[in-house]
C-alpha cells in the first residue's frame, strides 16, 4: 500500500507542468556549476546583488514579460507575432515623449544643454508610462479585433502589425534613434533594489495575471476557448471577447517589455528593439508546456521557460561561444525540446516500455 502511494506522488511530480522546465533549468545550472568556475558567486555593491545568476533573471525578464501575455494568446489557440514590433513602437513613443527636441530642425544651445541634462524630460514620467502603455494596448486591441471580430487567422492578422510596426516606429521618430538621457526612466531597466527592478516588474505582472486568471473564471474561459471555441460559444462564453482580451493583454505586456528594453539601452532603436523576441516568447511558452494548439496553460511554467532560454544563452556566453553563433545552438536546443514534448516521441518511448513489460514476465 505504501509503495503505491509513493509511486503515485512521484507521478504527480513528473506530470506537473513545472517539472520539465524546472528539470531543464536544473540541468543547465548543474552543467554551469561543473564547467564554469565562479558561476554561482554573488557580489554586493551598494547593498545590491550582482552575479551571473542575477544576470540570467535580469536579462530574461523581457522575454518573461512577453511570455506572460503570449501564454494567454497561445492558450486561446492563437499566436501573436507582433510583440517585437509593439515593443519598438512603445520605445519610439517613450523616447519622443521625453526628448522630442532632437527631431527639431533648429536646436538652440539652451535646448541642447537641456537635452543632455539627466533630470530633464518633456513630459513627466507618469504621462510617459501612461501614454506608452495605452499605445501598446491599442496595438493589442488591433490584433484582437482582427482575430476575434474580422475572423482572420491569428498568425496572418498579427503578421500585418509585425511587418508594418517597425515602419510605424521609425515614422514616429522620423527614423532618428533618439537618445534617452532622462535618469528616472532608466530605473525601469537598469535600476536595482537589492535585485534588479525588472525582476520585480515580472513578479508584479505575474501575480496580477495569476489573480486575474486563476481567482476569476477568466482562466477557465481562456482554456475552454482554446480547446474548442465553438462549443465554448454554445455554452455561453463570449469567445470573441475572451480572444480580444487575450490579445489586448498581450499587447500590454509587450508594452511593459518595450519600456524595459528601451530603458536598458537608453535609446529608441526602432530597428533593433525587440527584434526576433516574438519568437523567443513563443518558444518560452512552448518550453513551458503550453500546447501551440491552445488549451491548458501555466503562466509560471512559461516564465520558467523564458528563464531557461536565458540560462542557455548566458551559459554559452560564459563558455565563450560568440554572440552571433549562439543562434545555431539555440536552434538545435529548440528542436530537441520540441521533440521531447512531441506525441510521436512519447508514443515511441511508450511502445518500448510496453514491449519490455511484455518480454519481462
Amino acid at each position: 500500500m505504501r509503495m503505491t502511494k509513493s509511486s503515485f506522488t512521484l507521478r504527480k511530480v513528473t506530470e506537473s507542468r513545472l517539472f520539465f522546465p524546472l528539470l531543464a533549468f536544473a540541468l543547465i545550472m548543474l552543467a554551469d556549476f561543473l564547467l564554469i568556475p565562479g558561476f554561482f558567486t554573488f557580489q554586493t555593491r551598494d547593498g545590491n546583488l550582482y552575479g551571473s545568476l542575477i544576470d540570467i533573471f535580469r536579462n530574461g525578464s523581457i522575454v518573461a514579460l512577453l511570455a506572460i501575455g503570449m501564454t494567454l494568446v497561445i492558450a486561446t489557440g492563437g499566436v501573436d507575432l507582433s510583440v517585437g514590433a509593439t515593443m519598438a513602437i512603445v520605445a519610439s513613443v517613450a523616447a519622443l515623449l521625453m526628448n522630442p527636441y532632437v527631431l527639431g530642425k533648429e536646436l538652440s544651445p539652451q535646448t541642447l544643454s537641456l537635452i543632455l541634462d539627466p533630470h530633464f524630460t518633456w513630459q513627466p514620467l507618469w504621462v510617459v508610462l501612461l501614454v506608452t502603455l495605452l499605445v501598446a494596448i491599442v496595438c493589442g486591441l488591433w490584433n484582437g479585433l482582427l482575430v476575434a471580430y474580422a475572423r482572420i487567422q491569428p498568425m496572418v492578422a498579427t503578421l500585418i502589425l509585425m511587418i508594418a510596426g517597425r515602419g510605424i516606429a521609425q515614422l514616429i521618430t522620423n527614423g532618428v534613434r533618439i537618445q534617452i538621457f532622462y535618469e528616472p526612466y532608466s530605473i525601469i531597466g537598469q535600476g536595482w533594489f537589492i535585485l534588479p527592478f525588472s525582476l520585480y516588474l515580472v513578479i508584479i505582472v505575474y501575480v496580477l495575471t495569476w489573480l486575474f486568471t486563476r481567482k476569476t473564471a477568466v482562466g477557465m474561459f481562456i482554456e475552454s476557448v482554446g480547446i474548442n471555441a465553438r462549443s465554448s460559444f454554445f455554452s455561453g462564453i463570449s469567445e470573441r471577447r475572451i480572444k480580444l482580451l487575450a490579445y489586448t493583454f498581450c499587447g500590454f505586456c509587450a508594452g511593459i517589455a518595450g519600456l524595459v528594453a528601451s530603458s536598458n539601452i537608453r535609446t529608441s532603436d526602432a530597428n533593433n528593439i525587440g527584434w526576433g523576441l516574438e519568437l523567443d516568447a513563443i518558444l518560452a511558452v512552448v518550453i513551458g508546456g503550453t500546447s501551440m494548439t491552445g488549451g491548458r496553460f501555466s503562466i509560471l511554467a512559461s516564465i520558467i521557460g523564458a528563464i531557461v532560454m536565458q540560462a542557455v544563452t548566458t551559459s554559452m556566453y560564459a563558455i565563450g561561444v560568440p554572440a552571433f553563433a549562439l543562434g545555431a545552438i539555440k536552434g538545435v536546443v529548440v528542436i530537441l525540446v520540441i521533440l521531447l514534448y512531441s506525441e510521436q516521441v512519447k508514443r515511441f518511448f511508450q511502445n518500448i516500455a510496453a514491449e519490455r513489460k511484455e518480454t519481462q514476465p
Binding site: 499566436v79 544651445p109 541642447l112 543632455l116 474580422a150 511587418i163 532603436d269 545555431a328
Partner: protein
C-alpha cells in the same frame, strides 16, 4: 448587363485576388509614370525584375509551401548562410561552378531536414523552420564573423552580364536612352516560375499540393484518406523551398558581391508578404503561382515610387506593404465569407449580409486611410517644384568621401570632422567642430557657423569615446551602395590625443548601432542648413 457581369465575376471568383494585384501593379506604375517622366524609361520598369530577382526566386518556393498550409521562416537564414558559405569557399579558391551546385545541395539538405521534422515528427512548420533559421544564421558566424568580399570572375560575369530585350533596344536608342537590359537571374527566375507553374497546375504533384492545404489542416487528413502521397509531397515542397532559398542566396551574393551573416534579416517577411499580396491564402489550398509574380512586382513598384517621390523615407515601404497585406487578406476573407454565405441556410444569410456590410466599412476605412496617407505625402512634392528636380532624376549621384579635407580639418585642430553626402536633397556637406565649441558647416561654397557650450561638447566626446567605444576595434568602417534617400557618413573624431575616422551608410544592417548613436548625439550640435538652400 449587370447580371451578366455578376455571373462572370462569380464564375471567376477565384481569379479576383490575382487580378486585383495585377491591376494594382499597372495602375500604380502608370500613376508613377504620369508624375515622374523618368519612370517612363523602360529600364526603370525592367529594374523591377532585376532588383527583385532574389525575392521572386524565394517567393516562388514559398508559394508552394504556403499552398500546403505551411510556412517557412528559414529563408532569410538560408540566404545569409549561402552568401557566407559561397564567399568563404570562393575565397579558399574553389571553382565557382563547383560552389553553385554545392550551395543548392546545401539548401536542399536544410530544407529536407526541416521538412522531415514537419512531416514525420509533426512539429509545427512555424517552430521547425524558426529553429532552422536560427541554426542557419548561427552557422554563418561559425564560418566568419565579418563580411567576406567576393572577387571571382564567374561571380562578376554573372552580375554584370546584361541581356538585351529584342525590340526595345531600337526604341530606346531612338529616344536617346541606353539599351534596356535584364540580369541573368531574371531569366533564371522566370524559367523557375514557368517550371513551377507547370508542376503546380498540370502535374499530380501540384494537385496534391493544393489538396493538402486549406481548412486548418483538415484537408490534409482528407488527402491522406484519398490515398494521395501527402508525406512525400510535403517533404518535396520544403526541399524545393530550400533549393529556392539557396538560389536566392547565390543571387544575393552576386548582387552585393560579398557574404555576411547579417544579410537578409527580415527577408522572410518580405517573401511572405509578396506571396500573400500575390493572392495566395495563408491558410493554404488557394492561390496561383503566377500571382506571386505580381506580388513581387507590387513590392518593387512600392519601392520605386517611394524612391521617386523622394520625400518619403524607406520605412514607408514596410507600412505600405503592411496596409496592402491587410487589404488583400480582407478581400480573401470577404470572398470566403460570401462563398460560405451562399451555401448556408436562409436565416444565416442575414448574418452574412451583416458581415459583408461590416467588411465594406472596414475596407472603406482602409482605403480612405491609404489614400489619405498617399495624398499627404504626394501633394507636397507636387506643389514644391524645387523637390521635383531631384525626384525626377530618381537617384542622385552620391559624392565621394572627402577624406583629405576631413584629415586637414582634424590637423587644423577640429575635434569632430564630419562629411555627409546623399540623402533626399543630394547634399554634400562638410562639418567641423572645434574644442572651443565653434561648429562650422560648409556646402556648395556656403559656410555657416554656430556655437555650442564647450562643456556639452566635452560630455558628448566622453560619451562617444567611453560609452560607444569609438576608439576600440568594435567600431569599424562599413560600406554598401546607398539607396536613393540614404546618407553616406565619414566621421573623424579626435579626443585625448587619439584620432580615428570611420565610414558608414544609412539604410543597411551593416552599420554598428553605436555608430548610429554617435551620429544622433552629434547631429544636434551641428549647424543646420535651412530647406531653401
Amino acid at each position: 448587363m449587370t447580371q451578366r457581369i455578376n455571373a462572370f465575376i462569380s464564375k471567376n471568383r477565384r481569379f479576383i485576388p490575382v487580378t486585383v494585384t495585377a491591376v494594382l501593379v499597372f495602375v500604380a506604375y502608370g500613376i508613377g509614370a504620369f508624375l515622374f517622366p523618368a519612370m517612363r524609361n523602360p529600364q526603370v520598369f525592367l529594374n523591377l525584375f532585376s532588383n527583385n530577382a532574389y525575392l521572386l526566386i524565394s517567393a516562388i518556393g514559398m508559394t508552394l509551401v504556403i499552398l500546403t498550409g505551411g510556412i517557412d521562416l528559414s529563408v532569410s537564414g538560408v540566404v545569409a548562410l549561402t552568401t557566407v558559405a559561397s564567399a568563404a569557399l570562393l575565397r579558399a579558391g574553389w571553382n565557382a561552378w563547383a560552389v553553385i551546385p554545392l550551395m543548392l545541395l546545401m539548401g536542399m539538405c536544410l530544407g529536407s531536414i526541416m521538412g522531415s521534422f514537419i512531416t514525420f515528427m509533426k512539429v509545427q512548420p512555424f517552430i521547425a523552420t524558426l529553429a532552422g533559421m536560427w541554426f542557419a544564421r548561427g552557422m554563418c558566424f561559425f564560418i566568419s564573423d565579418d563580411a567576406i568580399a567576393i572577387e571571382n570572375r564567374t561571380w562578376s560575369i554573372l552580375g554584370e552580364t546584361k541581356i538585351l530585350i529584342p525590340g526595345l533596344t531600337e526604341l530606346a536608342v531612338k529616344q536617346g536612352n541606353p539599351a534596356p537590359y535584364i540580369s541573368i537571374f531574371v531569366v533564371v527566375a522566370f524559367i523557375l516560375l514557368g517550371a513551377v507553374m507547370y508542376m503546380a497546375h498540370f502535374r499530380r504533384f501540384g494537385r496534391t499540393v493544393y489538396a493538402i492545404g486549406g481548412n486548418e489542416g483538415r484537408n490534409e487528413q482528407s488527402a491522406r484518406l484519398m490515398g494521395l502521397s501527402v508525406n512525400s509531397t510535403k517533404l518535396l515542397v520544403y526541399t524545393f523551398n530550400g533549393f529556392c532559398s539557396a538560389l536566392a542566396g547565390i543571387c544575393w551574393s552576386v548582387f552585393v558581391s560579398s557574404g555576411h551573416g547579417l544579410y537578409a534579416s527580415g527577408f522572410e517577411l518580405d517573401v511572405i508578404a509578396s506571396v500573400v499580396i500575390g493572392g495566395t491564402m495563408l491558410t493554404g489550398g488557394a492561390g496561383y503561382v503566377f500571382g506571386t509574380l505580381f506580388g513581387v512586382m507590387v513590392y518593387g513598384v512600392t519601392q520605386i515610387l517611394i524612391q521617386f517621390i523622394g520625400s518619403l523615407s524607406s520605412w514607408w515601404t514596410r507600412i505600405v506593404i503592411g496596409l496592402l497585406m491587410l487589404i488583400f487578406i480582407g478581400v480573401q476573407s470577404l470572398l470566403a465569407a460570401q462563398k460560405e454565405g451562399r451555401q448556408k441556410v436562409l436565416d444565416e444569410q442575414a448574418q452574412a449580409a451583416l458581415r459583408r456590410r461590416r467588411w465594406a466599412y472596414a475596407f472603406g476605412g482602409a482605403a480612405v486611410l491609404l489614400i489619405a496617407v498617399l495624398a499627404v505625402n504626394l501633394v507636397p512634392p507636387l506643389l514644391g517644384s524645387g523637390q521635383m528636380a531631384t525626384a525626377e532624376s530618381g537617384q542622385c549621384e552620391v559624392a565621394p568621401f572627402r577624406e583629405a579635407e576631413v584629415a586637414d580639418l582634424i590637423q587644423g585642430g577640429a575635434v569632430i570632422a564630419y562629411h555627409r553626402a546623399g540623402g533626399t536633397r543630394c547634399v554634400d556637406e562638410l562639418y567641423a567642430v572645434y574644442p572651443d565649441g565653434r561648429a562650422v558647416a560648409s556646402a556648395d561654397g556656403q559656410q555657416i557657423e554656430s556655437q555650442v557650450d564647450p562643456t556639452d561638447l566635452e560630455k558628448i566626446l566622453i560619451t562617444i569615446s567611453d560609452e560607444y567605444g569609438w576608439f576600440t576595434d568594435n567600431m569599424y568602417s562599413t560600406w554598401h551602395n546607398p539607396c536613393g534617400t540614404c546618407y553616406t557618413h565619414y566621421l573623424a573624431i579626435s579626443y585625448n590625443k587619439k584620432e580615428k575616422s570611420v565610414t558608414a551608410v544609412d539604410g543597411g544592417v551593416d552599420m554598428q548601432p553605436e555608430y548610429g548613436y554617435t551620429l544622433s548625439i552629434i547631429r544636434p550640435i551641428l549647424p543646420k542648413f535651412t530647406q531653401a538652400q
